[in-house]
């Protein structure tokens, strides 16, 4: 884990809640991008991030459940 990872994780988690996103969505994107930065796996990154991003928002029912 990178030095700032914990700090970044916390902020990402907060933003996920604030923007009504599914849990770990931003972390997943972060991990994909980290693979690119540190492992050079640029291939298909857009596809992978897109897949995560388009399913990022919590459904209304999920929101209601979470709220409840």
């Amino acid at each position: 884990m990178r030095k700032m990872r914990r700090e970044i994780e916390e902020i990402l988690r907060k933003m996920e809640d604030k923007h009504n996103l599914n849990k770990n969505v931003l972390s997943q994107i972060y991990d994909e991008e980290a693979n690119v930065v540190f492992m050079g796996k640029r291939r298909n990154i857009l596809k992978r991030v897109r897949r995560i991003a388009i399913q990022a928002r919590r459904r209304k029912s999920e929101t209601a459940e979470t709220g409840a």
Binding site: R2, K3, M4, E7, I8, I11, L12, K14, M15, E16, K18, H19, N20, L21, V25, L26, I29, Y30, E32, E33, A34, V36, V37, F38, M39, G40, R42, I45, L46, V49, R50, I52, A53, I54, Q55, A56, R57
Partner: protein
């Protein structure tokens, strides 16, 4: 990262192999490298960056090869950096093989050779090489470790540019988040385009549906037109058949009429013949008396055969009585002739009315012999009978035909009318068929078009897909916004720390610490000076001189350097050329604090021994770059202390 050695081989002005030792002693982090301008100071700075990160884009690598060695033909230029990082020994060499072709130097691709603890690393792909180097010191962050004192003023320029935010973002090491933001932007753009495309498609789809409907209508119209044409054709064919039937009737009647005409002609001929026969008969009737008297005349003829005419009797009597016995013809009358005369005279009787009648009939008979007349008579009678019989049969036939023909006097007019109708019907049929063919072609074309459009329509995205796409876009937008907010939050959080660190450094470096309280980074990422009176002023307003700006920028860079918390050397090129003596002294005094290894590349005009005196206890080694007296194109490295 702690530098040990830098080896330069035929790199720019460094001809042959040149080496500089960067190792430092405990609590002596400074290495001073002095050089006049255009000797190789900046080249050494560039050599470190080249060794780690390769040649910048659009740089001709031939320019890295020493000019003297280029003339010697083939060879190799390389830079080797030896250092410790994370407790391991690293040796990185970046090399360029070159050769001569047509009198020009041709450089091959730059190669990287990396060894960790003496073990060669397999780094064939550029990605692998970048990954390897990024793990040591990311190129983005290297600008806060390897910097040109004259170039750092960009952070104090007005209006504020993205430099401050970019610098903080880079120093935070949040490349992953920045890349994520960039990728999410791209994905969002793509999704936006896709949604636009879908919406346009939907609009087109609506138009297409209308078009399909109109095509369907056209197809229906064409179909009904064809059916109508079929009906009209059938009607015309029916008319044609009726006409043909009518005309066939007419042709039969016409035949009968012709027959009747012929018979009438025949009848007329017969009548003429009968008349002629009758005329002839009337003429013949003249002979009718003779004919009627023929039996009597025949009887009379028998009688007349035995009698002689009166004159003959008289003559005979006279001749018999004549003693001369000479005939009127002067021939002698022999007893035999006399006897014959006498016999004839004996037989002769006196001429009677009957004899007269006989004579008359003879005349008649002379004109027309009875036998011939009789034959002729019977022949005429028979001929007349034949004529009359033929006439009767012809009349009968005429009557029969007339009955069959009936009273169709306007037959030809009617037939002509029917023929006209027929011709019109034929024309109509041809016209209808032609039209039908055209309509059928149109129908086929429209039908195909309609089917194609309908198939396409069936394949078109539904509203659900538009909704889905919209949701995807919104989700991506939310994600992007969240990521941006996360970056902002991180930067904001770091900004305070950077501000704090920069203020501390600034207070050490400034020539007027009694006037200032520190540096502030505004929400717009502009560097501002906080004065003792609490006033906050932009750097360009408060410290417009380049020296003051350089001090503020150095404070900011130093803060970022510290904030990265990376163990890396600081290499400063031309650190104090624009600084006044107080700033210079402050900056020089600050150098030992900036990092655990500080390499200062300076020229004699900006710093001298006096300037370094306050920090002489922090200097590990001093080096001098100078031109080789034997080769003015080559620079040599000399250790001075």
């Amino acid at each position: 990262m702690r530098l040990q050695k830098l080896v330069l081989n035929n790199f720019k002005p460094f001809y042959g192999r040149q080496m500089i030792d960067f190792s430092t002693e405990e609590r002596r982090p400074l290495i001073l490298i002095r050089a006049n301008n255009d000797v190789g100071k900046t080249t050494m700075f560039d050599a470190v960056k080249f060794c780690l990160y390769g040649a910048p884009p659009r740089i001709d690598t031939v320019s890295y090869i020493n000019r003297t060695v280029r003339k010697e033909g083939e060879g190799r230029t390389f830079v080797t950096l030896i250092f410790y990082h994370g407790g391991k020994h690293y040796q990185i060499t970046r090399s360029i093989d070159f050769s001569q072709s047509n009198g020009e130097t041709v450089a091959e691709r730059v190669k990287l050779d990396a060894r960790v603890e003496g073990v060669p690393q397999v780094l064939e792909m550029i990605n692998e090489q970048n990954e390897f180097i990024e793990a040591i010191l990311p190129e983005d962050a290297s600008q806060f470790f390897f910097f040109d004192g004259e170039n750092i003023q960009k952070y104090t320029k007005h209006p504020p540019r993205k430099h401050i935010k970019d610098a903080i973002e880079m120093v935070l090491g949040i490349r992953e988040l920045l890349n994520a933001k960039e990728d999410l932007d791209r994905i969002q753009r793509n999704l936006g385009h896709e949604l636009d495309h879908l919406l346009r498609k939907k609009a087109r789809q609506k138009e297409a549906a209308e078009e399909v409907e109109s095509l369907a209508n056209e197809v229906d119209n064409l179909e009904s037109s064809i059916n109508e044409l079929d009906g009209r054709t059938k009607q015309a064919e029916k008319t044609l058949a009726e006409c043909d039937k009518e005309l066939s009737k007419y042709s039969a009647i016409r035949e009968k009429i012709n027959q009747r005409k012929q018979l009438e002609q025949q009848r007329d001929q017969l009548l003429e013949q009968i008349n002629s026969n009758k005329d002839e008969q009337r003429e013949f009737n003249r002979h009718l008396a003779a004919l009627l008297l023929a039996p009597l005349i025949r009887k009379l003829s028998e009688v007349r055969e035995v009698s002689i005419p009166h004159w003959k009797r008289v003559t005979l009597s006279m001749l018999l009585q004549d003693p001369r016995n000479v005939c009127v013809c002067r021939r002698p009358i022999t007893p035999k002739i006399k006897e014959m005369f006498e016999k004839t005279l004996d037989k002769a009787i006196e001429r009677s009315p009957l004899q007269y009648l006989g004579e008359k009939t003879d005349e008649l008979f002379n004109e027309a012999p009875v036998d011939t007349l009789e034959k002729e008579f019977y022949a005429r009678i028979a001929q007349l009978r034949d004529f009359e019989s033929n006439l009767t049969s012809v009349k009968g036939a005429i009557k029969k035909l007339s009955e069959e023909i009936g009273g169709r006097k306007d037959l030809d007019i009617a037939a002509t009318s029917v023929e006209k109708t027929r011709a019109r019907a034929v024309e109509q049929i041809e016209c209808f068929e032609k039209e039908k063919k055209q309509k059928e072609i149109q129908f086929a074309v429209k039908r195909r078009e309609h089917d194609r459009e309908q198939r396409k329509l069936a394949l078109e995205e539904s509203d659900i897909e538009v909704t889905d796409k919209r949701e995807h876009l919104e989700s991506c937008q939310a994600c992007n916004e969240a990521m941006e907010a996360a970056i902002d939050a991180l930067v904001e959080k770091s900004k305070r720390k950077v501000e704090e660190l920069a203020s501390k450094v600034f207070m050490k470096l400034t020539n007027a610490p009694d006037l200032y309280e520190g540096i502030q980074i505004t929400p717009e990422y502009e560097l501002k000076i906080v004065t003792k009176g609490g006033a906050i002023r932009p750097v360009w307003d408060q410290a417009p001189s380049s020296g003051a700006s350089q001090v503020i920028a150095t404070s900011f860079i130093a803060a970022l350097n510290r904030y990265t918390a990376r163990e890396a050397p600081v290499i400063i090129d031309t650190p104090a050329s624009r600084l006044d003596p107080i700033h210079k002294a402050n900056v020089v005094r600050f150098y030992p604090e900036i990092a655990s290894q500080v390499i200062i590349l300076y020229h004699p005009g900006e710093l001298d021994e006096k300037d370094f005196r306050p920090i002489e206890n922090y200097i590990s080694s001093e080096w001098l770059l100078k031109r080789n007296p034997e080769n003015r194109d080559a620079t040599i490295i000399l250790r001075t202390s």
